[in-house]
Symmetry: C2
């Protein structure tokens, strides 16, 4: 019996922590020409990568989503160019040409086939990509083995901190790393391969399993985050596997112990990124974690958890540390999941406010305190079945409105 | 050929404008014991009324919804007792007993069978109804022919103004009135018989048609309002027809000219109330009217209009008068309705910002001005079919958050 593989978080890990990945970023002045903020980045793998992707389910898709989706279907990727400040969405044929051109501009210097370069953009919709600044910026980008941190900052829009996670897998004949960066902040809602998220690993993974593992990890994590119920035409999640790690030598496949370990590592990275995104929701001061148990099915548990996490009234109450738990029940009620009021248990943090459908006497000050934590737990038990789901959101604050009332101007 | 019936708005009209209706209200101190605000009201008809109702689609239903729905199924009503400050929801068996008791308390003095008395409550969830104050308050209520205004104020919670509409129908052998009061403010979302809304008419209407007419009017109006995406367990719309108007003598039935006129009057009253509710959304400074045309179907047009009207990002942009029209397109995209980007037209007020899927050059200042109006129009033409839908919402303001961050406390 081989020893079980261990997951060890890598402090300050980033998307270039796995072997073979390089990245870099520059300030190209795509939107903010005054400020010296990074807004254009490149991620590169020295070996061809197996690639999997998930994209927005919106009927309006940005040009980079259209192009990248086609290229991911080819199964191999070598590089990614990403920018913030301009989404290149609602830009018609010109937008598609611009997205292709962004990829072409780095394919030659990197010596990589054009169709192995992916593109992702985030920012304002309906504005053409400033291609001269892109071209000029790409010429200046220097790639480095520790360039992941700069890359992570280049994709930020209203994010207040870069979101980077990496985990080392070791033991049981395994020795590789899984990492990811994400940008979130606004237009974040579940059931869409949410926001921009780029994952890398140096494990060698069987392509079919890579796709399935990504879908599972995203469903559990990024698809369970809601900031404001809005979804972007740019949402993109990519997973690149370089295969440069020393072990395992062969491909990791589904249904194996190594496959389960890989899934566990990927779930971990995606879940941590999801939590970062919720915590950094526009204007947010608190992370809300909603756990629904006892649902008839997992699907219903997730739906209920997301509905509660997405309720403007719940979010406002958390902001004000107001233990108005009726709103949790109201959101649960409108979610449409099966419930029997007389079986409902509801908790705010560790304060039980409803049991078997009955309002409980509770210590108001303790309940307020539970809502004042940086991470606020809301727990519901439907006591009907074994379905369980966790969703993440954030409080709704006056600052959210302020940020979003003057985004373009 | 009889002359066509005319609809004439009645200035200061209210729910007691139609013949035979009386109302009154008192301050019972249900929630606010310091302030002298009305919070308990009774509406009474001197003749038995045909009644139709629509109720919340939430799986969690308040006790008054459970009781009133049963009684409306009986087809006849004489009186309604309504309160604000306590929703009597999530209150179990005791809540049901309390709702029945509220009805019983007025049935005897009014000389009306208990099962002909309806109940509606709005306010905080999970708090038992203070029955002593209810009983004491009901004893003090004096009914008057012009008591509708007081009744309208008694059902307000965070509403900033009472919502009352009445219209006189005359000509073509018709002479009657249709009126309504509503309360809105928060927890307002479509596809739920939204909020509390009580409609009265002195027309004599065939009961089957009364139900169909109510459903049609609500689908076009109250179900097209969204304030915050949340739905209450208390949502109730009731329509009482006393039949005391002089003409027509017989019942108004569907499929007739008189039926179409009644529908027109009812649509008008419900639409005006819907607009009032949107305009008075919690913290709102502006009414948003979203019109979607050219959809494949009416259903899709309505869905698209409501999705845009409900987008937190669109609502925030309107608050800031920021012509960030990409958010309109993003909301449209995630609504799931059929669209071809290359056919899309989008307008902010009368400023066209996208035509045939192409961003238009537009005068930024004029677009800002369009978003600064008290009533902001957003127009979308999908250019795919003939489906048309109108939805109403309001801007999202820091004030919304402030109101909802300290509602119970």
């Amino acid at each position: 019996m081989p020893q079980k593989a261990k997951l060890t978080p890598i402090p300050s890990g980033t998307v270039t922590s796995p072997k073979g990945f390089f990245a870099g970023a520059v300030h190209a002045g795509i939107k903010y020409q005054g400020e010296e903020r990074l807004d254009l980045g490149v991620l590169y793998s020295e070996a061809p990568c197996a690639v999997a992707g998930m994209f927005t389910t919106s009927r309006v898709k940005s040009a980079p989503v259209v192009i990248t989706r086609q290229r991911v279907a080819g199964g191999t990727a070598r590089a990614l160019v990403a920018n913030s400040g301009c989404a290149n969405a609602c830009t018609g044929e010109q937008g598609l040409a611009d997205a292709r051109e962004m990829a072409r501009l780095i394919s030659a210097p990197l010596g990589v086939p054009e169709e192995n370069v992916l593109v992702a953009s985030t920012g304002v919709v309906g504005v053409p990509m400033p291609m001269e600044r892109i071209e000029e910026g790409l010429e200046r980008i220097a790639l480095a083995r520790d360039g992941g941190h700069e890359f992570a900052r280049a994709i930020m829009t209203t994010d207040t901190f870069p979101k980077e996670v990496a985990v080392a897998v070791s033991g049981g004949g395994l020795e590789y790393t899984v990492a990811g960066v994400a940008k979130g902040a606004g237009m974040i809602h579940p059931d869409m391969a949410t926001m921009l998220c780029f994952l890398t690993t140096d494990a060698r993974v069987e392509p079919g399993f890579l796709r399935r593992a990504l879908k599972r990890a995203v469903d559990l994590s990024l698809n369970m985050v809601t900031v404001d119920g809005d979804t972007s035409p740019s949402d993109t999640v990519l997973l690149l596997a370089s295969g440069l790690a020393p072990t395992p030598v062969g491909e990791i496949a589904g249904g194996s112990t190594a496959g389960r370990t890989f899934q566990r590592a990927l779930d971990h990275v995606c879940t941590e990124l999801a939590r970062c995104i919720a915590r950094d929701g526009e204007g947010a001061t608190r992370l809300i974690e909603v756990t629904v148990e006892g649902a008839r099915t997992v699907r219903e548990a997730r739906l209920a958890a997301r509905t509660i996490a997405g309720s403007s009234l719940v979010k406002s109450a958390v902001y004000g540390a107001d233990p108005n738990w009726g709103r949790v029940v109201a959101a649960l009620g409108r979610s449409g999941v099966a419930l029997e009021e007389s079986r409902l248990d509801v908790c705010l943090g560790d304060v039980c406010v409803m049991r078997d459908g009955w309002p409980q006497r509770f210590d108001l000050e303790r309940a307020r305190e539970a809502l004042r934590q940086k991470e606020v737990g809301i727990g519901v038990d439907l006591n009907l079945g074994r379905g369980r789901g966790v969703a993440w959101g954030c409080d709704l604050t006056p600052e959210y409105v302020t940020i979003n009332s003057a985004y373009t101007t």
